[in-house]
Amino acid sequence: MIAKRIIPCLDVRNGRVVKGTNFEGIQDVADPVEMAKYYNDTGADELVFYDITASFEGRGIFTDILRRTAAQVFIPLTVGGGINDVSDFERVLSCGADKVSVNSGAIADPTLIDRAARRYGDQCVVLSMDVKRVDGSFRVFAKGGRVDTGIDALRWAHEGQERGAGELVVNSIDTDGVKQGFDLEMLSAMGKTVSIPIIASGGAGCMEHFKTLFESVPQVDAGLAASIFHRKEVPLPDLKQYLAGAGIPMRILR
């Protein structure tokens, strides 16, 4: 049986993973290559590297890290952040990424999805979106969730699928960082709209939240989170054991 996937997301800025911000406002950081190796060895089903660097030098550091990571990580690796053109796909794929996640770049030019899918295959193109409730509907926000695009999220998800996206990452701005659980209402609406795999993001605070996610929205294929894994508030191997014990199909390393 196909397993539900658990995916840690590594936000990389200036060559370091941002693990979270402590109560004094100081950023806790770690080495991305080491962290990727740790997740590879402890049972993560995939990894997402998100490039949150803005500078040109930062981008160079990022691709170097990607190359070093890809040489010792033997699970699928998705890269996102700053993907605005097919040449950006080429840049990260040539460093060892398996899939590329597009967000604002696809909103600015939706044909990016078609062009990338034709060139690299649907399986390579992951459409990622930040969604927030506005006036009773789900809206797509761009630029890291700061700008309301006015686009209906369900319509955009469907369009993305039709254009050739192979998977969908849906991050709920409403539940993100609150740690009260995934946005089940929005994810279920997505599940009724698209037939491609859905990766849920935003809101996980404890192991039970993942169980609830997979049990109540069967169309969701994977759960993604960042700081709760990095800070071991929810240790990834424990989470997978717990979910397997609860009857959710999981890949367990022996």
Binding site: I2, I75, P76, G96, Y120, G121
Partner: protein, 202 residues
């Protein structure tokens, strides 16, 4: 030396990295000379069958590969590379394959129960239905990573391990020294690496 055949389809870095990590000498090549001297071959590939088959012909890689296989050199096809080993495929029309293993490549969507997603993307468990040296280090129930929309039908006794996805999807096939993996061993963690290690030892 394993030659990973580069015919312009897909990303070959992770495959090459995996072999290097295992200490297996390998090279990514489109040089017929290198292929004719390699003691093992890997045919990778992602994308559409027809395009890939065309590229294999255009680059002359198909003839180079077939003559080595006739000489007894072990070959491993991965994902689309596995599908290319078969007689034909019905992906966007009808295309002849390399004809090394009996059977045809058919769309998953025609055979799946309602609600199953196509492509199959993710980790699925292997069930053994035959024996293969590539499964030497694998235990039944181990998971491997799949990404595909088409699958092999009519492969008969060539099927050595399957995964359940609404239908029984042939995961690992073998006919003599020709092997095929529908999943991606280079993306399947320690289990996948063990399969590549076993191919290195064939």
């Amino acid at each position: 030396m394993i030659a990973i055949i580069d015919y312009g389809v897909g990303n070959l870095y992770s495959l090459s990295h995996s072999l290097t990590y295992l200490g297996i000498e390998n090279t990514v090549t489109r040089d017929r000379q290198v292929i004719s001297q390699a003691d093992k071959l890997i045919l990778p590939g992602v994308g559409a069958f027809g395009d890939a088959r065309q590229k294999l012909s255009d680059t002359g890689m198909d003839e180079a590969l077939l003559s080595r296989v006739r000489a007894g050199v072990p070959l491993l096809g991965i994902c689309l590379g596995m599908q290319l080993l078969f007689m034909k495929s019905y992906e966007y029309g009808e295309h002849p394959g390399l004809g090394l293993i009996d059977g045809e490549i058919c769309p998953l969507k025609d055979d799946l129960p309602a609600g199953m997603k196509v492509p199959q993307i993710g980790w699925n468990t292997l069930k053994f239905v035959g024996e293969s040296p590539l499964l030497r280090y694998v235990r039944e129930g181990d998971s491997v990573y799949y990404v595909h929309s088409f699958y092999a039908k009519g492969a008969g006794s060539a099927v050595k391990a399957v995964s359940e996805y609404g239908v029984e999807v042939p995961g690992l096939v073998q006919r003599d020294h020709v092997f095929g993996a529908q999943f991606h061993p280079e993306k399947s963690g320690p289990v996948g690496l063990s399969i590549l290690r076993a191919f290195g030892e064939v």
